[in-house]
Amino acid sequence: LKGLGADFTFGFIQVMDGEKDPRNLLVAFQIVRDLIAKNYALGPFVEELFEVTSCYFPVDFTPPPNDPHGIQREDLILSLRAILASTPLFAEFLLPLLIEKLDSDLQSAKLDSLQTLTACCAVYGQKELQEFLPSLWSSLRREVFQTASEKIETECLAALHALSACLSRSVVSSDAEDLLDSFLGNILQDCRHHLCEPDMKLVWPSAKLLQAAASASLRTYHCITHSVLPLLLEQYTKHPQSSQRRTILEMLLGFLELQQKWGHVEEDESTLLSLQAPVCSVVFSALTDASVQLQLVGIKALTLLGSLKGFLSSSDLELVVDHLIRLTLHEDSQSSEAAMAAAGSLAPIYPKVFSGHMVPRLAEELQSGRAEKARDEESSHDLCSLQQRCLQALAAVSTHTSIMRETVPVLLRHLQKVQKGSEAGNTQDMISVCQSLHRVALLCQQDAESCWYFHQTVVPCLLAMAVQAAMQESTHLLLGKALLEEEVLTAMIPVISAATTHLSPELAAQSVSHVVPLFLDGEVSFLPQNNFPCSFQPFGDGECLEAQRRLVALLMAFVCSLPRNVAIPQQEWLLRELLELSCSCNCPFTATTAAKCFAGLVNKHPAGKGAELDAIGPCPLLAGGTTHPVPSVPPGQQLDEILQLAVNSMEPSLVEGPRRMQALTLLLWVRPALDVWVRGAEAASLALIVLPPQVTKALLLRYHPLSSCLTDKLLGLLGDTELGPAVADGFSLLMAESPDVLHKGCHADVRIMFRQRFFTDNVPKLVQGFHEAGPDVKANYLKGLSHVLNHLPKPVLVTELPTLLSLLLEALSCSDHVVQLSTLTCLQPLLLEAPQIMSLHVDTLVTKFLSLTSSPTMAVRIAALRCAHALTCLPTPVLLPYKARVIRALAKPLDDKKRLVRKEAVAARGEW
């Protein structure tokens, strides 16, 4: 084809002329691109070739509905643009066209022109742009100054950036004019003076234009900052008002950000370095200003300057740390948080300065804070928050290993001090320290060395403190020792957990070899300060060990976060002890954590033999019979044995019969110690409720066949008047993500789609159970169902909806407000996502929703109003017959005594 020369080009132009079909155009455009890209001879026909393609610019095309070819406007635009921007030969024709279209009223035309211009700059040079620069600049300026559209502004800035970059690239001979200089000169002339009027409308457009040009290349950056930075610094001093200073500093910040991009190349000529002193003084002045907004911008600027190599001198750095400390501790909470974040970012760059200055100061404040607080109760509230801030700051600044090694001891020492004290509010203080430790733990997770240091330092320390506290309580009732409070132990759990999850298996194994013997054998030798008055036996019997038993929570945190292939010494024994503890202990907290620990271990245990089969028939393990003790049992079989034991412990409680017989049976199986409390039934049912959902969930997550048997038992128990409600709530536990034990972050074994599987296996039974149940327990089934539905992925829910809908509608008539609430919560997203299906029941829905807007429970009223609002998603023809009635009925909740209800009513009624 090339052999045909320019004749081919001419011939093609004639063929293409007047083409209208988009499919053909796409092909034609491709051909033209190839003509240009593959250097076909265009001869004298350059302009013609341009004409025949540019007549389609800007593309005006709306695909017909149901277009089988699926050609979009975007495809044509991009294809055409690729041609127009492909060669500098088109420049003399294209640029006038673009300038003309930029003046058009149509937004799409403007956008297309701008984007094409940006694309062209990649291939053009100074020569092509030369005569058009003034008009291009004037159009761009006009658009940015006048536009209300963010998109156009963005594209204009991008175009300016591209133009500047293009001009910067061109090689200029020594006697030719440097277009870049004159171009930038124009820009500066038109924009610079607006920077001096921080209150006026054009200040930001001008700043953005200058920044766009400056970001294009080193030369432009140099040229513009040389002119603009001194001006901005001067303006800052000239305008004393905080709001104006804020604008100026924000503009300055925009230019400073460019320093990171270009400034590192030529340090000796850098304008910024030469202005180091005034810039620092401006930033420091912003940090001391009374206006919080200005402080925040100052902090951002500070973070930026800190990240520039060699910008801040060491005396500057000390000043920076002083400012950050002051802002963190004594200023507005927004500034405080920003300052802490800034400290966190800067600390890894200057670890010595921060660990040498900031950490000791914070530690000092922490110490003196406590002393003050003890003396003066009245100002204790302010000092409380001062303490909190110190703690948060210590955590925030621990972003470098060396700093973390300083802050962790400080935090631990503080924790010990708080524990020894006897003031009220200790619980909250301890929780705050634990939260800070948790933050630090999360920061350490990525670095193996820090992670191990943290684990080694913190875990034994916390365990030692807890053991010490527990031992002192061995002879007294639990009073006054804040450390053993549930909330504090609960706050410690995430700390230990986060410290353990990212350990390498070797190091984890090392740690396990200390921690598990501590609990099983009372081996305290690895703990710091291990002179304890008596022995540590959390799994022992006896009331005096109540406090020690609580510490199982800490064991749970550790053991359940271990990586999966870490062997746990004496695992079988541990499992048995945990099982026994959870069944026999009458403290709900201990029983629950023991059950959770048991469950976590079961989940990660190598699969039992039974797991190889997917049991459909009666569960083999529950068929009765005892296990035969076998020496050196393979791990899979051990799991089955443990589970058998667990089931055997639960079995007695499941015996049906008259209530009295049941209570008696339960009491007979309960440990003698609990008889004293005569809450035996409660304890057993506690075990029943506490244990099965956790264990069931553990198995559920791994599809162990026993899980379906246990689930069936739970389903059966929904009909029990006494235990039903608790079981129904337990369904939420089965489906939801438990934050501390059975989720992926703790390396638990989570098979995909376990929720869907649960749903498919059990919802039919739930529905059947519901229909067969007596009126007083129907609510339990509904509650269970609602929990299941609320946690199900939406696509599954929508598919199953038609069958469940009648059940849900019936649920709305139930008088239990919890059921009403969960049903309403369930229905609302369904209205949004499956309007066609819901339309079939619109009459019932309208009636029920409206009646529930008068419910005595606020949450139900709100949910009902939200559902009424969601009803508007149904097709209009369906809704019209109800419109008047609904609007009338919604007038009443407008006057509801609760503001939140009124708010929903306004939204709903307005939509109707």
């Binding site: 007038a891 009443k892 407008l894 006057d895 306004v906 009624r909 307005g910």
Partner: protein
């Protein structure tokens, strides 16, 4: 816009200031405010929507229209006008 609310006496008064004294949208704006209030407040409230005194050339005429319940009701029966008012009131995302 500056609203005054008296819950005990069930009155709401909203005063609004057009951007320029000959603003042609003043009536429409006033009507939109009135409609929003009608839809969002319980029936017991008496509504008063008017232009800030001294800020519009025809404030007297506009205020009279807005105060007239029948005029307002009639306006809302005009489907085009209602459509425009609904657009004004539609929540911005």
């Amino acid at each position: 816009v500056s609203p005054q609310v008296n819950d005990a006496e069930s009155t709401v008064s909203v005063e609004f200031t057009p951007t320029i004294p000959h603003c042609s949208m003043a009536t429409l704006i006033g009507l939109s405010i009135k409609v929003k209030l009608l839809r969002s407040l319980p029936d017991r409230f008496k509504l008063d929507v008017h232009i800030t005194p001294g800020t519009h050339a025809s404030e007297h005429a506009v205020n009279k229209q807005l105060a007239d319940k029948e005029r307002v009701a009639a306006a809302l029966e005009n489907s085009h006008l209602l459509e425009v008012v609904n657009q004004c009131l539609s929540a911005r995302s």
